[in-house]
Amino acid sequence: MTRPIAAALRPAQADDSLSGRPEFDAIAAWIEHGAQVLDLGCGDGSLLRYLREARRAMGYGIEIDDANILASVRNGVNVLQSNLESGLAGFESGSFDYVILSQTLQAVRHTERIIGEMLRVGRQAIVTFPNFGYWGHRLQILCGRMPVSPTLPYQWYDTPNVHLFTIRDFEAFCADHGIRILERVVMDRGRMISILPNLLGSLAVYRFDRGPQP
């Protein structure tokens, strides 16, 4: 088994939104009422719970960490213990409206495989990730240190993150893999960022699909 991914990866954010987590609001705004969702690396299940309450969404979380399984069950959401790295073999193609990967993509070893699986199982996919290109991160690197911030709260030696990347990296990845980006929200400390997102945004939220198939 690989190291636990998604375990406690969701840092505390400024409490200025309905959910207490601004990216949850961004995600909820995209989710259709009554949608079926799969939340990969669901942590303690609070996003699923929020989507159920705010959007009447039905779904399942996937987690590997024992403590998060227990927390999700306590939260009253459906959680399935599984290692994301082994894919989503138990799920039928096109069987969910949305597959969500919140603050976990940077901790997944096989990035292409997991994105491919998300787009196989879901009609659409939603990811959120810490933007490595954020000015605060750049500044720390310029000062010769690995960045530590509210969105990257780990020291280099204890981080579960294995693939740090920027907003531009992600968009290039999508272009290279024929992925169509449907919407993007970039934030910093709970505020929307519209100019220079790769510099001023610490957190990115994307909704995408496979695009028109030939």
């Binding site: 079926q36 039905m58 399942y60 024992d66 399984i69 227990l70 999700s72 069950v73 306590r74 009253g76 959401v77 459906n78 959680v79 399935l80 213990q81 599984s82 138990g90 799920f91 039928e92 069987s95």
Partner: protein
């Protein structure tokens, strides 16, 4: 909050059913009794009942002790009791000995009213479906319209699963622990060895050993020894016994030498003292026959399409008898049907028997799940 404690002294009861029951085999039993125990109180809305289904060798005696016998601890006493994960301060818990059993319910050792002699070989083969059918009769008898929870481990979990299909509107939650949706060829093979051990014992007398005042003890011992090997993991056995010698040195004979031999013989002896050979044969058959997907072209998703319950499915990493992969088969069918389900794979070393053990992660999970079950 007070600490969890044992439910204390409990009493077994018998319920009589005079309406004939038609079994899956086509056989009819005109009247029968089921032994049961209850713990806790039914609430005003009668929506807090929990049915605990037993596996191979257990019974209706789930928790507590019998008066005057402190050693008679119920088989799931570590889980069921006041403030325990299955909290009898909240829930009304029912344990039942299945039809065909040997702990007080009508079974092969009971008197067949048609002949005035023990049923013996004539007692029909019973199935998981039959058990669920008769458990529902017990629910009627107890005035339980709908169970808040039906739960069990191993064969007991198969009954919980069957409940969601046989009586989808009479069960709100199913706890399916250390289960499989059907037995593998290897599982059936172990059962067949156990049955052969019993049936080839000269004291078996074709199942009518009662008339000869004997018990096919050698067969039962072997059956139990085989079973025990499959309930434990290789690691658990290595940990518990290793190659330890009972007397410290090899004796170059066939007495008990290794501790594992001693353990198996002890378990076999104990079992053959109380368990009925005909019941053992029938329970292993019930295991072999269980395959709810069979009527749906092998498609478990279709078989579970009528289920409405919410599920907690639990497996144990070291269980090779019903491995986590078998629980995942159930899980897939539940997810395909968009049923509410949570699934945990407990990293426990004890093998199949882990479902009976007091493991904190496992018990915390059951407690957390049951805390969210609405009652009252």
């Amino acid at each position: 909050m007070n600490a969890p404690e044992s439910i204390g002294v409990v009493t077994a009861r018998n319920a009589q059913f005079d309406r004939p029951v038609r079994l899956r085999s086509g056989a009819v039993i005109d009247r029968y009794e089921l032994a049961y125990e209850t713990y806790g109180r039914i609430n005003e809305k009668r929506d807090n009942a929990v049915l605990v289904c037993h596996a191979l060798n257990a019974s209706h005696h789930v928790a507590g002790i019998y008066g005057g016998d402190p050693s008679s601890v119920g088989w799931w006493d570590n889980l069921v009791g006041p403030r325990k994960p299955v909290d009898t301060d909240r829930f009304f818990v029912v344990g039942v000995n299945n039809l065909g059993g040997c702990h007080g319910s009508t079974g092969p050792a009971s008197i067949n009213p048609g002949t005035g002699r023990p049923w013996g070989a004539d007692f029909p083969v019973v199935t998981v479906e039959d058990w669920v059918q008769t458990q529902a009769q017990l629910a009627d008898y107890l005035g339980i319209e709908r169970f808040a929870v039906v739960m069990g481990g191993s064969l007991g979990a198969m009954q919980a699963l069957q409940w969601t299909m046989s009586f989808p509107d009479r069960i709100r939650h199913a706890l399916v622990i250390a289960a499989a949706p059907k037995l593998s060829a290897q599982n059936i093979a172990f059962n067949e060895v156990a049955r052969q051990a019993i049936m080839t014992d000269p004291d078996f007398h074709g199942g009518d050993f009662y008339a000869h005042s004997v018990v096919p003890r050698r067969g039962l011992r072997l059956a139990r020894m085989i079973g025990h090997i499959t309930y434990l993991s290789d690691d658990a056995m290595a940990e518990k016994f290793g190659r330890a010698l009972r007397d410290g040195a090899l004796k170059f004979n066939f007495d008990v030498e290794f501790e594992i031999e001693s353990y198996l013989r002890y378990q076999g002896d104990k079992f053959s003292d109380y368990f009925d050979a005909n019941t053992y044969l029938r329970i292993t058959k019930a295991l072999d026959y269980f395959d709810p997907a069979a009527d749906y072209g092998g498609d478990l998703t279709k078989a579970l399409a009528r289920a409405q319950a919410a599920f907690l499915v639990v497996s144990f990493t070291s269980d090779w008898r019903f491995s986590p992969a078998r629980s995942r088969e159930i899980l897939k069918a539940l997810v395909d049907n968009r049923l509410d389900v949570s699934y945990a794979e407990i990293d426990a070393p004890h093998g199949h028997d882990a479902f009976l053990m007091d493991d904190q992660r496992y018990h915390d999970l059951i407690r957390a799940y049951l805390d969210n079950v609405d009652i009252g």
